[in-house]
Every structure is written in C-alpha cells, then in structure tokens.
Symmetry: C2
Subunit: 66 residues, 2 copies
C-alpha cells in the first residue's frame, strides 16, 4: 500500500506542477522524508496522509485509492 500511496502523492504533486521542496514545505515535512514516501519506502500514518492531502488540496481518499 505504501507504493500505491507514494505513487499517488507524486502524481498529484506533478499535476500541481510542484517540486518536492514545495510540497514538503506546504505539508510541513522534510523533503528527504517526502522522497522516501513517494518511493513507497514509508509506512505512513493517517496524520501524514491528512497533511499531504490537505497540502495537495485533495481528499485523503484520493491518495489511498488503489
């Protein structure tokens, strides 16, 4: 599931035309951490799902749908 989530975060970030730095700043997370999340290397918790979804302006379900 981490892979699906990471891929969706990257897709939506690209749709916004944002760099990882921009999304990391908006979501209040470290860029290196975001890179690991996007690479499916992090089993994130719901509060991180919420932070990233809010920063990207989508509902959390948009980032976890398979």
């Amino acid at each position: 599931m981490a892979e699906v989530f990471g891929k969706r975060v990257r897709e939506v970030r690209h749709e916004r035309g944002w760099t990882q730095e921009q999304l990391a700043f908006e979501a209040g997370v470290k860029r290196a951490y975001l890179s690991e999340v996007e690479n499916g290397q992090r089993n994130v918790s719901l509060d991180v799902v919420e932070k990233l979804a809010k920063a990207l302006g989508v509902g959390p379900e948009a980032l976890v749908a398979e």
Copy 2:
C-alpha cells in the same frame, strides 16, 4: 482523521454484522487495539488501513473518505 477512520471502520463492521472479535480475527489485530482504533485513539499506519479494508472487503479509500 483518526476519528473519521475509526467511525468508518465501525460503520462498515456493523454493516457486515460483525463483532469486534470477528473483525479483529479477520484482520489479524488484537480486539483491544481495534476498539481503540474505532474510538479514534490510534493514528494507524497504512498497513493497518490495508488489513482492515481487506478484512471488511472494501477499498482503503472507503475507510478514509471524509
């Protein structure tokens, strides 16, 4: 977000007519932990979201939609 997730898990569990014991067994988690999750007291990670969604027979998005 933990509250939203917990509420959804409980709603879908009730739709299935399952007890907490049954869902905990199907998802491979402890009943006491599931009770805390349903009460919004746990900031669960994506692998728990996946386990509970699979056990309930729904997509993970169904449990995180606000």
